[in-house]
């Protein structure tokens, strides 16, 4: 199947040249969930931000292509790019506490997207928002629509953000560690909810996380990232059975299991890290960074 989102050789650097993403290439097919795994600081979130056009000021895209629905976003002028992204993609952010505007009620925050993006009438948008809130299992949606974010719990807010991400029926959703800020019991519900919604709406999902356990539950394919470089690209089952790259293998081995929770805590061996670092350096030499 033709990928819906296709990133080709994306290089992102700091303004003065230090590389953040090193020739990242990955594909997300329509209706599939693609996991993006890596340590903190590996550049996972930056890939999502590069696609959505919300990179921090200090970073800029040096080279590469981002194909979204058959169009290379980076060749479009800024305003048109924003419009295109708004119409086709949405974000489920990491921290539900800062992702809703604290001084506006929930209702308008969801309906605004529908009015902005799809040009819907306000009443129609409100009906749709109520349906969506019910779909993400929020009790008493009409009350929640009138609430302010601080009146709701973290789990509730994350549900609202999920509803709002799916509101305008985007073809691609980028979920940036959507469960990291929640506690474990809520995490599981939210994960299941995202997976359900994704399946029902047939959306392509780029799922950014550092949790291999989470990946194994929701993803179809995945990329392992180290220092901004994709070290392995794989289908889910193959990856968990036979990881190809030594770093991926070490990561997998480092994951605690239910059967042997403490004994299996193995750090990633130093030799593996050295090898990956060399690989990264070789890449930089070739790319002239």
């Amino acid at each position: 199947m033709k990928p819906y989102l296709s990133i080709r050789n994306l290089c992102v650097t700091l303004k003065h040249g230090a590389p953040i993403l090193r020739s990242v290439t990955l594909d997300v097919s329509a209706g599939q969930v693609h996991g993006l795994v890596g340590e903190s600081g590996a550049g996972k979130s930056m890939i999502g931000k590069a696609v959505l056009g919300t990179l921090p000021r200090a970073l800029h895209i040096r080279s590469g292509e981002i194909w979204l629905d058959g169009v290379d976003l980076l060749t479009l002028p800024l305003q048109e790019r924003r419009k295109r992204i708004g119409a086709t993609a949405a974000l489920i952010p990491q921290d539900p506490l800062t992702a809703l505007n604290p001084s506006r009620r929930i209702g308008p925050q969801i309906t605004k997207r529908l009015v902005d993006i799809l040009g819907w009438h306000k009443n129609a948008a409100e009906d749709r928002a109520l349906d969506l809130l019910a779909e993400v299992h929020i009790p008493d949606p009409s009350r929640v629509m009138r609430s302010y974010p601080h009146e709701l719990s973290g789990g509730m807010r994350q549900r609202i953000l999920i509803a709002s991400a799916f509101a305008a029926e985007p073809k691609l959703i980028i979920a940036d560690e959507p469960t990291t800020a929640l506690d474990v019991t809520v995490q599981k519900q939210i994960l299941r909810l995202i997976a359900d919604m994704q399946a029902r709406h047939g959306t392509a999902l780029l799922f950014v996380t550092h949790d291999l356990g989470v990946v194994s539950k929701v993803c179809d394919t995945l990329s392992v990232l180290y220092a901004g470089k994709v070290v392995e690209d794989a289908r889910m089952q193959r990856f968990f059975m036979r990881p190809v790259h030594p770093y991926s293998a070490a990561l997998l081995a480092a994951t605690p299991t239910y059967t042997n929770p403490t004994g299996s805590l193995k750090p990633v061996p130093a030799t593996v890290i050295e090898d990956v670092e060399t690989e990264v350096q070789q890449h930089d030499m070739r790319a002239g960074l």
Binding site: T98, L100, S103
Partner: protein, 283 residues
């Protein structure tokens, strides 16, 4: 999963009651000054000069807070003085807020070169000694209500610019701003719908603080005779006049001083009280 957070009710605190009460009283007094003031605030009468306040045995009816050395009623002058003080507070405070707030918002949200220009300008501006600056300005513009207001705006917009800039910067990196941008909304629209409502509580607190400061600045300028003409009563002018006869008639100095003090205190407390009550993020 019913959540009780929405049910928290914040009572209107004592602070809000007291400060709001005093300012309402003052506003009413200013509006209905001709009805309230027992005497003509400008009427001089040497037979009634330096009358003590009402509790003294030598007090005269109709001069509740005594009279000054020219026989003018202190209470009436305070009541009429409230007019000028409140006009200056409202107009100068609001204008300062608009000018400084707008610049701060732009600097904090857009960053980049607008921020660099505005911030350097603020830095340079703040290096001038403010009172001297005001006196200089009035000397150039000539005394009068408009000059006072301009002087206050020119001195104090930097306070707003600094604080609002910082606030807008911290709001600007929040995820909801990114979400709004991803939804294809323009930068300016995002600033108005996402950032502005969230810096508003701070702006209101600063605004009331600024109103208090405006009252003080006006009093300082009156004190050095640079406010509006000496005919119309001002609190600062009364304090300045009372200073010369403080040993014979302390009330001429003390009552306007207390009024000034309570007013400025009320303005700042009103801001804090409003922030406590209405800021959705504070709890």
């Amino acid at each position: 999963m019913r959540d009780a957070r929405g049910d928290i009710k914040r009572p209107i605190g004592l602070r809000l009651w007291l400060s709001g009460g005093w300012l309402t009283l003052l506003a009413l007094a200013a509006i209905f000054a001709p009805l309230i003031a027992p005497q003509d605030p400008l009427a001089q009468d040497l037979f009634t000069s330096r009358l003590p306040p009402f509790w003294d045995s030598k007090a005269e009816a109709g001069y509740w807070l005594g009279s000054d050395s020219l026989g003018r009623d202190v209470l009436s002058r305070i009541v009429y003085g409230a007019r000028l003080a409140l006009i200056v507070a409202l107009v100068a405070g609001t204008l300062t807020c608009l000018v400084g707030g707008t610049l701060g918002l732009i600097a904090g949200y857009f960053r980049g070169w607008p921020d660099r220009i505005i911030s350097r300008f603020v830095d340079i501006w703040m290096a001038f000694p403010p009172v001297l600056f005001a006196i200089l300005l009035i000397a150039v513009l000539g005394p009068g209500l408009i000059s006072i207001i301009i002087a206050i705006v020119v001195i104090d917009w930097t306070r707003f610019a600094r604080v609002i800039r910082a606030e807008a910067m911290s709001q600007g990196v929040m995820d909801y701003v990114a979400s709004a941008q991803v939804a294809g909304r323009g930068r300016f629209g995002t600033m108005i719908t996402e950032i502005l409502p969230n810096v508003l509580p701070t702006m209101v607190a600063l605004l009331t603080l600024e109103m208090g400061i405006a009252v003080i600045v006006e009093a300082i300028l009156s004190f050095v005779n640079l406010s509006i003409s000496t005919d119309s009563p001002t609190w600062g002018g009364m304090i300045s006049e009372g200073r010369t006869s403080v040993h014979q008639a302390w009330w001429v100095l003390v009552f306007p001083l207390i009024t000034l003090f309570l007013t400025v205190l009320s303005f700042s407390q009103l801001g804090e009280g409003l922030k406590d009550r209405f800021d959705p993020v504070l709890r």
